[in-house]
C-alpha cells in the first residue's frame, strides 16, 4: 500500500479518522480519506471516501468511491461509486456511475462519454443535456 516508484510519490495518501485537512488538497497518487477535508481534493488517481469521513470540498479524480458524507461537486473522470449509506450534496459528473441501495444523492448528475469536467463547467448545461441522449439528469432530491 505504501510502496513508491523511483520518480514521484506513488504511495497512497491516507487521512485517518479525526484528522482535519483544510485547503487545496492535491496529490499525485491514490487517496484514502476517513477524516475531514475542507477545500478541494484533486488527484490524477483514485479517491476513496470512508464511512467516517466528512468532506466539504469539490473532488476531482480519475475514480471516486464514496462511503461517507460529501458536500461539494464531484468530477470522476472514469468512475464514481456511491456505496450504501453514502450521502452526497452536490453535482456529479462521471464516465460511469454506480449507485448502491441506500445511497443519497442531492444534486445534478451527468454521466456518459462527454468530458466530466465540461459537464460541470459549461453554463449552458441544461441545453446541452437535451442534445446528448446517453446523459441522465437528476434534479432536486433523489434517494436510490
Amino acid at each position: 500500500m505504501f510502496t513508491q516508484k523511483e520518480e514521484g510519490f506513488a504511495g497512497a495518501t491516507v487521512i485517518a479518522e479525526g484528522v482535519i485537512v483544510e485547503g487545496n488538497f492535491k496529490g499525485d497518487g491514490p487517496m484514502i480519506i476517513d477524516g475531514t477535508v475542507k477545500g478541494t481534493i484533486a488527484t490524477s488517481k483514485s479517491v476513496e471516501i470512508g464511512k467516517s469521513a466528512t468532506i466539504e470540498a469539490n473532488i476531482k479524480a480519475d475514480s471516486v468511491v464514496i462511503g461517507g458524507f460529501v458536500k461539494g461537486n464531484i468530477v470522476a473522470k472514469s468512475r464514481l461509486e456511491l456505496l450504501s449509506g453514502s450521502h452526497v450534496e452536490g453535482d456529479i459528473a462521471t464516465g460511469t456511475l454506480i449507485v448502491a441501495e441506500g445511497a443519497i444523492l442531492n444534486g445534478k448528475c451527468t454521466t456518459g462519454t462527454r468530458t466530466p469536467q465540461d459537464a460541470l463547467d459549461t453554463k449552458s448545461e441544461a441545453a446541452k443535456l437535451k442534445e446528448v441522449p446517453q446523459q441522465q439528469k437528476i434534479n432536486g432530491k433523489a434517494r436510490v
Partner: protein, 241 residues
C-alpha cells in the same frame, strides 16, 4: 582519496578490536586514507571542509547514526561521496543503506556502488532518514503552501521521513506519517495518516520537540523541506530503496 571521520566513541577500549579489524581490511583492499577524530573541540564540518580542499573524493563516517548525521550536514550539496562504516549503536542509517557492520562494510565501500539521494532539511539541518515528534499536543502541518493537516490532541507520533522502509529517498517527497492512539468506547485504536509533501511547516501549541535522525533535537515550530538529489552515497545491495 578517502577521508575517514572517526566517532569520539571509537577511542573506547570496547571498540578497539572492531576498529583494528576494519583498519586491517581497509589496508588489504588499498582503501587507507587520512583519519579525522571527532571530539568536543573538533567539529565534523571543519575537518571535512579541509579534507575536501586536500582532495578527498570520499568521506567515510566510521561510527553510529550521530557520526553519519554530522558528516551528512558537512557534505550536503557537494560532489564528494559519503561512505558509512557502522560501529557502535544505533546504526539504523547504515541498515537502511544496506551496509552491514564490520568487515562487510569495508567490502561495500570497495564495491563503490553510488546512489544520489534526496535530503530532508529541518531548520537548516540536513537529514537522510527521518524526524520524529512524539506529543500529547495537537499538531499542525502546513504542506506545500496549499493545505494544512491537523492532528487532534492525544498521544500522537509524527514522523517526517525521507528514507524509511516505507519512504524512498529518490522520489522528491517527504512522507509525513501521523500515528494516533484514539479511545473509542472501551477500546483504543491506532490510526495512521500518510501525507507526501515537498515543503512545509510543523507546529504545536505547546512547542514540542522533533528528534532528527535519532541524533539531535529541533524545537517546534520549524520549517521542513526536501532537497532533491543532493548527496552521493555509497550503498549496499540490500538497501531499503
Amino acid at each position: 582519496m578517502h577521508f575517514y571521520v572517526y566517532d569520539e566513541s571509537l577511542s573506547s577500549p570496547k571498540l578497539a578490536h572492531a576498529v583494528a579489524e576494519i583498519e586491517t581490511r581497509l589496508t588489504d583492499l588499498g582503501l587507507q586514507g587520512r583519519i579525522g577524530r571527532l571530539g568536543p573541540l573538533k567539529s565534523a564540518n571543519d575537518m571535512i571542509r579541509q579534507a575536501i580542499r586536500s582532495g578527498a573524493t570520499t568521506v567515510v563516517a566510521v561510527g553510529n547514526d550521530r557520526t553519519v548525521a554530522d558528516v551528512i550536514n558537512a557534505l550536503a550539496g557537494s560532489d564528494v561521496a559519503l561512505g558509512v562504516i557502522p560501529i557502535g549503536s544505533p546504526t539504523r542509517i547504515a541498515e537502511l543503506l544496506g551496509v552491514h557492520p564490520g568487515e562487510a562494510a569495508v567490502e561495500t565501500l570497495a564495491a563503490r556502488k553510488i546512489e544520489t539521494v534526496d535530503l530532508g532539511k529541518i531548520n537548516n539541518h540536513y537529514f537522510l532518514t527521518s524526524a520524529e515528534v512524539s506529543t500529547d499536543d495537537a499538531i499542525t502541518l502546513e504542506c506545500d503552501e496549499h493545505y494544512t493537516v491537523s492532528a487532534p490532541a492525544g498521544l500522537s507520533v509524527i514522523t517526517i521521513a525521507n528514507l524509511s522502509p516505507g519512504a524512498q529517498c529518490q522520489d522528491g517527497y517527504l512522507e509525513a506519517t501521523i500515528e494516533s492512539s484514539r479511545r473509542k468506547w472501551l477500546r483504543r485504536s491506532l490510526s495512521r495518516t500518510v501525507v507526501p509533501f515537498r515543503q512545509g511547516r510543523i507546529s504545536s501549541h505547546e512547542g514540542a520537540v522533533a528528534t532528527v535522525e535519532n541524533s539531535y533535537t529541533v524545537k517546534l515550530p520549524t520549517t521542513i523541506e526536501i532537497i532533491p538529489r543532493t548527496l552521493r552515497i555509497v550503498v549496499g545491495r540490500e538497501r531499503a530503496f
